[in-house]
Symmetry: C2
Subunit: 263 residues, 2 copies
């Protein structure tokens, strides 16, 4: 028996999120079908976490226990040949049997992307929120800093969250503005990427943070009010939930000791 | 009557190229329908040139003569509201009645993109040729330089070309390698963009140049042989026609005097 840790990239546009659900077309379903087709094993994979419908991932880890003898270096190509083109497995390694993609995860990073140019980009639109109005990026950056550290993030969690604790830690957060695709036009502000790294994220947490930051960028909410919104522990205090398609699970980090297989 | 020059971006994946054709689903059809819907005018637009089925464009110019009174600054939004999401009009300006997008064009630039990483990229796959094997980029660059200048490009034209002259000028050509999405893996070579600027291009010309350069990159053909292929004036001497989806019409340039409206 081996415990295999893999990484998968997917364009989540047409999927109902990662995790299997009734009548859902999910990434997990497609991966488990590909594994069944390849090995004959009808098994369950463990992911680093759920993603919402329409959310994307670059390098989302998942693991599973297999008795297949297929050599490690053959797995990616063999699975990709059995997956739709919008799901691509890029890495496979053997890890200790105790390793679990979600329980062993130490840090997760999400990226949220806003196209702040005047017109939508037909090439990148599937993973961008289009916001044609000018945004005050430095105010948004200032708002973001209020979220750093360990807090109760109830204001930034879905009302449907079933977690007993809403305390999470945000380790890092920063913004990048890519102006390479701007026309020489003051109404093209660039593509804004927001990266947020934390211990874990509540349901809709990044999207509600983004809805709130966009309010800040539009001048509807002063940057310093983000601290008050956080302190309120009230979902009603924060901004709207930004659309799912702008969100990409960007990386998941583990302790080397947890996934390094002792040979 | 006004002559309006516009620029359009499109993801050509699902279209049969730019130009109207029987039973075709083309960019021109969608643009003319949007104009008809907006103005009631059943008119023909003039493009800077054709693009093949599956080819994309960033800023492809087209123009048309209209008697509509719609102010210039309203056209883009109004047309985009009537276009599919994968076609976006980004600029509109009035030009002299003598201006014609194709006949007035002085320089055109195409970009061809090769994903030379081990695995396909689910986000960018629609506008990339995936070539997982290692390519010798400096040999490709050397091969490309043999095409600079004015030559008979019969070797790099479709056998179905109906042009009386195959003499064209390539003004500039260069390659860029983007390694930002590479994994720490020697089998990820990056995303290779090839930019070629010329006076005009024959049918399939950029795609046949690319098929030939890929042969060079694979070591199947020495870089210096590109000069002999060019001199042969024989389509059979060159490499295969690279797939359409890697190709994007990148820019079309005009003389300022030709499109600047004398007020």
């Amino acid at each position: 028996m081996r415990n295999l840790l893999m990484k998968v990239n997917y364009d989540g546009t047409t999927y109902d999120g990662f995790q299997t659900q009734p009548q859902g077309n999910t990434i997990q379903d497609r991966l488990e079908e590909a594994i069944l087709h390849l090995t004959g094993e009808d098994l369950k994979i463990h992911a680093s976490g759920r993603t919402d419908a329409g959310v994307h991932a670059y390098g989302q880890p998942f693991n599973f226990i297999t008795s297949s003898q297929i050599p490690l270096e053959r797995w990616c190509l063999a699975l990709n040949a059995r997956l739709p083109q919008d799901i691509v497995v890029t890495e496979a390694r053997e890890v200790p049997l105790s390793f679990h993609s979600r329980r062993s995860a130490k840090r997760k990073t999400y990226r949220y992307t806003i196209n702040a140019n005047q017109f939508p980009d037909p090439f990148q639109r599937r993973w961008q929120l289009h916001h044609p109005g000018i945004l005050d990026v430095s105010a948004m950056q200032q708002g973001l800093t209020h979220l750093l550290g360990t807090h109760d993030f109830t204001s930034f969690a879905s009302r449907h969250s079933t977690k007993t604790s809403h305390v999470r830690t945000i380790y890092e957060a920063h913004m990048e503005v890519d102006t390479s695709m701007c026309r020489p036009n003051p109404r093209d502000q660039g593509v804004i990427h927001v990266f947020i790294t934390g211990s874990g994220f509540l349901q809709h947490m990044v999207r509600i943070i983004m809805g709130t930051l966009i309010n800040v960028g539009q001048g509807k909410c002063p940057a310093d009010k983000v601290a008050h919104i956080l302190a309120a522990c009230d979902r009603g205090a924060a901004g709207p939930t930004a659309v799912a398609n702008g969100l990409t699970l960007w990386s998941v980090e583990y302790e080397e000791a947890d996934y390094k297989k002792a040979d």
